[in-house]
Structures are given as structure tokens and as C-alpha cells.
């Protein structure tokens, strides 16, 4: 019997995923456990395996398409079986499974006051949830007011430059777009809403409108580019014969785009600055060694210096709650628990998984959890829900010999702690100068939320706790 394969739901807030690669094609025979496809959200990528043996009878979505979760993406069965009932593009096909989801996600969004691109379309289209309604892999944040205006004047808000808080499109962005933004002819507008239409030539239509021929030119250019370097999507501009090319053009990945937007947003919307200090790491180094020697005997994790710092931060923060907060322009949310974001360097780019309720977890638990999260980030199997919700972040460049740096805030969080390498310093003990291992801490905070002195006091307390780690453990 033919078995549909659906786009899995990755976390409660993910509504659609982009198919990054099909490892099998229509007509291929697969065994349970074979890799079928790789797909991605805006933050992570995942592999989906075949769950049954059979032949891939049909594939309904191509690479690059954005598919609502729980939509049937392909069918595995035996040759000759009818698959039309599974085709989500046939009305009613996948409607049964996706429609309630679409409504649910809409309800969720309404309750949280956040409107996500495509929701209204989904609900409005009663027949089936077709992927065409979802313009892009990225969630577009737009205020309801702005969205209403865009709908009213018939403008494609995807082209608006967000100037609202946290990268949200607000009314004035739509107004500006209406005045200056790309205008389309009717047919071109319809066409531009289809997935995969991203590159535009300049508008050559009436009043500078983008018309069908411009979109076609854009697509042509795109496919030519793809034809030149099919695998990597990299174009190498022609240099003179025998010379190295001047530069290599690399298309941004979704994750890179998200990071770029988030970083720029952080620096352009907050008042952040960084305080630097060092502490005597003698005690935590000794502690770490003690654990190392006895971990097998006591069944402990391989506790790292970073784990120790995470633990100390989770405990110290609650004495300085103003740094464990969201700054929201007209109000602040002060958190009573510490959900600790931990920056993880991956091949795909920076990812920040969250240790929820870190303040309630033991050092051993924190150590175990961060190891698991980091591994999932590396593999790209992290649940996207684990990549949000942090109230404070720790980032560590110590292993790369960095002595101090200015971490970039992750708004609306008010603070982020940078952890640096250990250098040998000299201090005077009695009449003698002695060497000690000094470890650097760099605290970036949002001066809108916290003043310099309280931030410095947090850092001082953290320093004390780390220098007297056994006392902290005893608390």
C-alpha cells in the first residue's frame, strides 16, 4: 500500500520547512532507513529517512520549496499504485491533515499578537494549504496594522524594509514601500508570489514596474548562474587569463541571513557596551581537575571550565535580576528563572541553544545538557524550540586564545557574558610576586535596561563566586 511521507513538524512554532535536498528521486527504490531528503527551518537542518520499503511513486515538492509542516511531500509504495489522492495540490488531498494545523497556528499567532507571513492566506484558502501561499523560508514579522495597510493597498509586504522594533515591519515601512518600492504589473505580481521567484531585474514596465519579462530575465540569469556552477551556487567572476579571481560570490544561507539580520538589529536598536574583568581561576581549575580524576568513580560528566562558568552565572544572575531580563521599549520583563543561552559555533554558523531553568539544575546536569544541545546543533538536528527563550547568554572564545571581546547582545535580552582565555598574571602576595591563572570575562549589557554600576556589581559577584567556587557549590 502506498505510504505518504509528510513534512515533519519541528517544534511547536515551526510552520513550514524548506526542502534543501532530495537524496532520492521519483522512481527510486528505497529501504526503510534510507536517507530521503534534507530540509531546513530558518535555524537548523534535518534529515528525513524512509520509514518503509518501496518505490518513490511521486515527489510533490522540489528542492527550495517551502512546505507547510504535516503536508505530504512524497509517496512510497509499489509501482502502479495511484498516488493522486496524496497530492496536496489536489484540493482536499492534504487538506485534511494540514488545514486544522493552519488554523491552529493562526490561533497561536493571534494570541501572541504576532502575525506571521502567510497565515491569513492559509486560513482564507479553504480548499487546501498550498505552499505558494508561503513566500519565503523566513518568518516575516509584520505588525497587524502594517499588514492591514498592505492588504488594503495591495502591496507585497515582503519588499518592505522593517524599521520597527526587533526587525518588525510597521505601518510606515509599508507607506514607504508604496511610495518608492518595487511596483509590479498585475501578471508579474501574481508570478512574483510563487515560490522561487527571488531575483529581479530592474523594472522596465510602465512607471518602472516589474513586468513578466523582467522576472523571466531574472530567472534566466539565475539559471545561467546555476548552470555555471551547479553544485555550490558559487560564482567566480572572470579575472584576466591565469589570474586569481578578484572575489568569490557566495549566496547567503538562511542561517547566515538570520544571523546578519539579528546582529544588525542588535547593534542598531540597543545601547550596548562592554565591561571587562579577570578573575583568579586557580580554584575552578583545581576543582575541574578533581572532578576529572573522580568522574568515573562518582558517575559525573566531564565538567569543563565553561560548564562551571555557566553554573556560576545561573546562580549569580538571580542576585542581579535586572540583567536576567528583556528590555521591551516601554517595559521590562524581569525573569525569576535563568534560561541560559549558550553560543555554539557550528559549520552552518552561530547557534544559541537554551538551557531552560539553569538556576535549578546541578553542575552535572548543566554539563550533560549543554553537551547534548551542542551536539544536536553540530548535527543540525536541534529542535528549533530549543533555540529560543533564553533570558541571558554566555559565549566563549577562550579556547581560541581571545583575551577580551565585545559580545553582541541578543535582544531583547539585556546581557551577554563573554568568556575569555586564561593568561598568567602576576600579583603581589605579601612581599612576593606570584603567578596566577587569570581568566577574562567580558559583559555586554544594554544600558537602556541597566546602568554601569549594577552591571559591574554583577560582574564582581560573579568573579567572587568563581574565585570561591566551593563556597558557591555549598550554597
Amino acid at each position: 500500500m502506498a505510504t505518504p511521507v509528510i513534512m515533519p513538524r519541528q517544534g511547536q512554532t515551526v510552520e513550514s520547512c524548506i526542502i534543501s535536498k532530495w537524496h532520492k528521486k521519483k522512481g527510486d527504490r528505497v529501504k526503510a532507513g534510507d536517507l530521503l531528503l534534507t530540509y531546513e527551518t530558518d535555524k537548523a537542518s534535518f534529515d528525513e529517512e524512509a520509514k518503509v520499503d518501496g518505490v518513490i511513486l511521486d515527489i510533490f515538492f522540489e528542492e527550495g520549496e517551502d512546505v507547510p509542516v504535516l503536508t505530504t511531500i512524497c509517496v512510497i509504495g509499489e509501482e502502479g499504485e495511484d498516488v493522486s489522492q496524496f497530492d496536496p495540490r489536489n484540493s482536499g488531498g492534504a487538506g485534511g491533515s494540514t488545514e486544522p494545523e493552519a488554523e491552529k497556528s493562526k490561533a497561536e499567532n493571534v494570541s501572541s499578537g504576532d502575525v506571521t507571513a502567510g497565515d491569513d492566506d492559509k486560513a482564507a484558502d479553504e480548499k487546501a494549504v498550498v505552499p505558494e501561499n508561503i513566500p519565503d523560508g523566513e518568518r516575516i514579522k509584520i505588525s497587524p496594522r502594517a499588514r492591514n495597510l498592505a492588504d488594503k493597498i495591495g502591496i507585497d509586504y515582503r519588499y518592505a524594509q522593517p524599521t520597527g522594533p526587533y526587525g518588525r515591519i510597521i505601518e510606515r515601512d509599508i507607506e514607504l514601500l508604496a511610495e518608492k518600492g518595487p511596483a509590479f504589473t498585475f501578471a508579474a505580481k501574481g508570478e512574483s508570489m510563487k515560490p522561487g521567484t527571488e531575483i529581479y531585474a530592474e523594472g522596465t514596465g510602465i512607471g518602472g514596474r516589474i513586468r513578466i519579462s523582467d522576472l523571466e530575465k531574472g530567472k534566466e540569469a539565475q539559471s545561467q548562474m546555476a548552470a555555471q556552477v551547479p553544485a555550490s551556487q558559487v560564482t567566480v567572476p572572470a579575472g584576466a587569463a591565469g589570474e586569481e579571481p578578484e572575489f568569490t560570490e557566495v549566496k547567503l544561507t538562511n542561517i547566515r541571513k538570520v544571523i546578519a539580520k539579528a546582529m544588525h538589529n542588535s547593534l542598531s536598536t540597543t545601547a550596548q557596551l562592554t565591561l571587562h574583568t579577570t578573575f583568579d581561576a586557580t580554584e575552578i581549575l583545581e576543582y575541574r581537575n578533581r572532578v576529572k580524576e573522580n568522574k568515573d568513580k562518582l558517575g559525573l560528566q566531564n565538567i569543563t571550565i565553561n560548564d562551571i562558568i555557566l553554573f556560576a552565572v545561573s546562580r549569580t544572575l538571580l542576585m542581579h535580576k535586572e540583567l536576567n531580563s528583556y528590555f521591551m521599549d516601554d517595559k521590562m520583563l524581569i525573569f525569576n528563572n535563568v534560561h541560559l543561552g549558550v553560543a555554539v559555533d557550528t559549520e552552518r554558523g552561530l547557534m544559541v541553544p537554551t538551557i531552560f531553568y539553569a538556576n535549578k539544575k546541578s553542575l552535572n546536569e548543566i554539563s550533560a545538557e549543554i553537551k547534548k544541545l551542542a551536539e544536536e546543533c553540530q548535527k543540525g538536528t536541534i529542535n528549533p524550540d530549543m533555540l529560543k527563550g533564553g533570558t541571558f547568554t554566555v559565549t566563549n572564545l577562550g579556547m581560541l586564545d581571545i583575551e577580551s571581546f565585545t559580545p553582541v547582545l541578543n535582544p531583547p535580552q539585556s546581557g551577554i557574558l563573554g568568556v575569555n582565555t586564561i593568561v598568567q598574571r602576576v600579583k603581589k602576595v605579601g612581599d612576593e610576586y606570584v603567578y596566577y591563572p587569570a581568566m577574562g570575562l567580558s559583559l555586554t549589557f544594554d544600558h537602556r535596561a541597566v546602568d554601569g554600576a549594577p552591571a559591574a556589581r554583577f560582574l564582581k559577584d560573579l568573579k567572587t563566586n568563581l574565585e570561591n567556587f566551593s563556597l558557591l557549590l555549598a550554597k
Binding site: 504589473t185 498585475f186 501578471a187 510602465i206 513578466i212
Partner: protein, 454 residues
């Protein structure tokens, strides 16, 4: 002094370009060798419309019985018709003059000749005087093609063979008129002289009349004119013109048709020689000035618009091309598009169209769906065209479902077609057009009727 712009040629491209430039504050000089308004105003569009309207009045009076109106002793006085035509032309030419003045354009009469370049710009000589400008707009237009057929040259000298220029000033109606070339000019003149009483024969080299027009509509037009007594010899080639006779070949056969007058209207060619384009190195390609989509030639600051670029050879195309040129001179980005340029043949019935025909779509590999409906779907058409018929043909591309072509035959088509051009410019889709309200009862409603066939 150094002008911002010198315009060579005072036809539609030239005078409109000069007006727009002057209006935008450019210090502009216009050079015209014959009469402001060019061929269009003096010996083309406007005078022919004046004649054709007289013919229409005459026909309406003569054939009014079917509408219950009886008239006797209806005559057409050709001299009066020509007098009126001259009055219309004069009024419009002075209108152009006034417009140019209002926009501070300096007009110089004479033949402009480009002399070369100096540090300040381009030098153009008119009479003995040299003018200099930073930009040039070449708008020298076109002239009738006179083929090297034996007897043509002599016929022109004797006044037996005419072009569009001479035929509009004939003092009397020739008993028989042979028109060589069944394009727009030939058909319109055939229409007038047929109504006015000439025995008209059209000799056309192609297997259809009206050039690239929709084939079905060409055939309908031909049938309507055959009914009125015009003789069509298609797929026929004129080989010799003798006094009172035109010799042509058809299927290898040599035939002759008698003619009091012969109109040569086989086409027009751009005027690119004899005024110094070579001195500044303007590129000429197949007898026309080569321009890009912004009206620029290969020489910086030198633009060309109108018939001289050989693209479309219609006055309204020239208007728009001139505007594109001036906008680009002013640093405003503007691009010339040719996909939505309407055409009209002012025959009775009128023919008008815009965009792709079935044939042109096929050549481009564009898949289209076609709806063809009778003009009799329009209430007003039926009320005003006793016994008449026409069609409206609508082409929609299959891929995007947008309007790509619309062609019609039937009176008022000329005034309706711009609406279809606007729809094509905006790439309106079938479903978009369905939401447009048309005034009732009008002939324009035929578009709405046709669209709902999809």
C-alpha cells in the same frame, strides 16, 4: 551660445521632443526644413483623416435609407474637401508653432547639417549659421520608398505617379487609381478615392493586405472593400509603369491595369543621408539609425526618435520615443517598450489592434488562447451599423493568463484600442479585466464580452 539640445526635424518626434525638453527647462533649438508637424501633420495622418471623414459623411448620406433617412442630390466636391483639409492642417501647424513658443523652443527654418564636434558640443549648420548643442535629437523621419521599377521616375516627374504627398493635393478625382502597396496608406487612400468615385485597384505583393495585421481581420476588411468595388490583386508584383497603365506579374502571368493616376505606397525608409551623421560617426544599420532602448545612438549625447530609427514608423510611437530620449537626457531613467503600441487603419470600417497577433505569438513561441467574437454582441454597434459586422479578437497567453493582443474591425475601434494598450502595459490578467466596468451601451463593451469567453 550653446544650446542644451538641437532637434533636427519638426515632425511628431521632433516637435514633441522639443516641447518636452523646453518644458523641462532645456535650452532647445528645433530645425525644420519644410513645415512644422512633419509628414504626419502635413501629408499623412491628419490630412488623410480629414479626407476620410468627408468620404464617410458622403457615404452616410448616400446610404442613409437603411436608417430611414432619405437624401437626394448628394455630391462630393473634392476641391472643397481639399480646402477644408488645408484649413485643418493650417490650424494644427500653427498650434504646434504656438506650443513650441510656449515652451521656449527656438525654431529655425532650413536644412540642418551636422558639421562635427567641438569642445562644447555638436555643431549644426543651418543656412550660413552654426549652432552648437550638448545634445542632439535626430528626428529626420522617413520618405516614401520609390522602387527602381521602369517608369516610376518618369511618372513622378510627369505627375502621373504620386506619393502620399502629392495625392493629398490632387485637384480632381482621377477616373481610375492604381495603388501599389496595400498597407495602411494605400488602404486609406483607396477608401477615400473609392467613395469619391474613382475606380480603385490595389496591387499588393503579399498574399494579404494591411501588412502584419491579423490575417482574419485583413480578409474581412478586404471583403468589405471588394463589396464597395475596390479591386485587389494580391501576390502580384508591379514590373513596369507606362503612361496610363500599370504592368504587374501574377503567377508568372504578365497583366496590365489602366490607370489615370498611380499611388506608390509600398513603404517608407528612414532619412539618414545628406546631413552629416557620418561626421560624428553615428551608426547606421540597414538604413536606419541604431538606437538602444533609451533612444541613444552609439555617440554620447546623440539620440534618435521617430521613423528614422526604423522600428515602428508611427507618429504615436515617435511621440513616446522622443519623450524617452528627453527623459534620459534629463537623467530620468525611461525605457521604450514596443509591446503595447496600438495601430489604427482609418478605413470604413475602422481597424485597430495592439500587441501580439496569432502569427507573431507563434513566431515568438508564445502559447496563446484566442477568443473571437462578433461586434454584433455590442448593442450600440448593432444600432449604428445596419447590416454591418466586425470582429474583436482577444489573445491571452496561456502561461500567465494576461492579455497580450487585441485586434478589432468595426467603427470606433480607433478610439477604443488605447484601453487595450493600457491593459497590456499593466499586464492585466483575464480575471483582472473581468472586474473593469465598461460604459453601456458602447462598442468598447465588446472587450468585456470577449474577455468573458475565457
Amino acid at each position: 551660445m550653446v544650446y542644451d539640445l538641437i532637434v533636427i526635424g519638426g515632425g511628431p518626434a521632433g516637435y514633441l521632443g522639443a516641447e518636452r525638453a523646453g518644458h523641462a527647462g532645456l535650452n532647445t533649438l528645433l530645425i525644420e526644413k519644410r513645415a512644422l508637424g512633419g509628414v504626419c501633420l502635413n501629408e499623412g495622418c491628419i490630412p488623410s483623416k480629414s479626407l476620410l471623414y468627408s468620404a464617410k459623411m458622403y457615404d452616410n448620406a448616400r446610404f442613409s435609407e437603411k436608417y430611414g433617412v432619405f437624401s437626394e442630390n448628394v455630391t462630393l466636391d473634392h476641391k472643397k474637401v481639399i480646402e477644408r483639409k488645408n484649413k485643418v492642417v493650417k490650424t494644427l501647424v500653427s498650434g504646434v508653432k504656438a506650443q513650441l513658443k510656449r515652451n521656449n523652443v527656438t525654431v529655425v527654418e532650413g536644412i540642418g547639417e551636422i558639421m562635427g564636434r567641438n569642445a562644447e558640443g555638436y555643431e549644426v549648420k543651418v543656412g550660413g549659421e552654426i549652432f552648437t548643442a550638448k545634445n542632439l535629437l535626430i528626428a529626420t523621419g522617413s520618405m516614401p520608398i520609390l522602387p527602381p521599377i521602369p517608369g516610376v521616375k518618369e511618372g513622378i516627374e510627369k505627375g502621373f505617379v504620386l506619393t502620399n504627398r502629392e495625392i493629398l493635393d490632387l485637384n480632381e478625382i482621377p477616373k481610375s487609381l492604381v495603388i501599389v502597396g496595400g498597407g495602411v496608406i494605400g488602404l486609406e487612400m483607396a477608401s477615400y478615392f473609392n467613395s469619391a468615385g474613382s475606380k480603385v485597384t490595389i496591387i499588393e505583393m503579399l498574399d494579404k493586405i494591411a501588412g502584419n495585421n491579423d490575417r482574419e481581420i485583413s480578409e474581412l476588411l478586404m471583403k468589405a472593400y471588394q463589396k464597395k468595388g475596390i479591386i485587389f490583386n494580391l501576390s502580384s508584383k508591379v514590373v513596369e509603369i507606362k503612361e496610363g497603365q500599370v504592368i504587374y506579374e501574377h503567377n508568372g502571368e504578365r497583366l496590365a491595369v489602366e490607370a489615370d493616376k498611380v499611388l506608390m505606397s509600398i513603404g517608407r525608409r528612414p532619412v539618414v543621408d545628406g546631413f552629416g551623421l557620418d561626421k560624428i560617426g553615428v551608426e547606421i544599420e540597414r538604413g536606419r539609425i541604431k538606437t538602444d532602448e533609451r533612444g541613444r545612438t552609439n555617440v554620447p549625447g546623440v539620440y534618435a526618435a521617430g521613423d528614422v530609427n526604423g522600428v515602428s514608423m508611427l507618429a504615436h510611437t515617435a511621440y513616446r520615443e522622443a519623450e524617452v530620449c528627453v527623459n534620459n537626457m534629463l537623467g530620468k531613467k525611461d525605457i521604450m517598450r514596443y509591446n503595447a503600441i496600438p495601430y489604427v487603419i482609418y478605413t470604413n470600417p475602422e481597424v485597430a489592434g495592439v500587441g501580439e497577433t496569432e502569427e507573431s505569438a507563434k513566431q515568438k513561441g508564445m502559447e496563446v488562447e484566442v477568443s473571437t467574437i462578433s461586434m454584433r454582441y455590442s448593442g450600440r454597434f448593432l444600432a449604428e451599423n445596419e447590416g454591418g459586422d466586425g470582429i474583436c479578437k482577444i489573445l491571452v497567453d496561456k502561461k500567465y493568463r494576461r492579455l497580450v493582443g487585441l485586434h478589432m474591425i468595426g467603427n470606433y475601434s480607433s478610439e477604443i484600442i488605447y484601453g487595450a494598450a493600457a491593459m497590456i502595459e499593466m499586464e492585466l490578467r483575464v480575471d483582472d479585466i473581468k472586474e473593469i466596468v465598461f460604459p453601456h451601451p458602447t462598442v468598447s463593451e465588446i472587450i468585456r464580452e470577449g474577455i468573458f469567453q475565457f
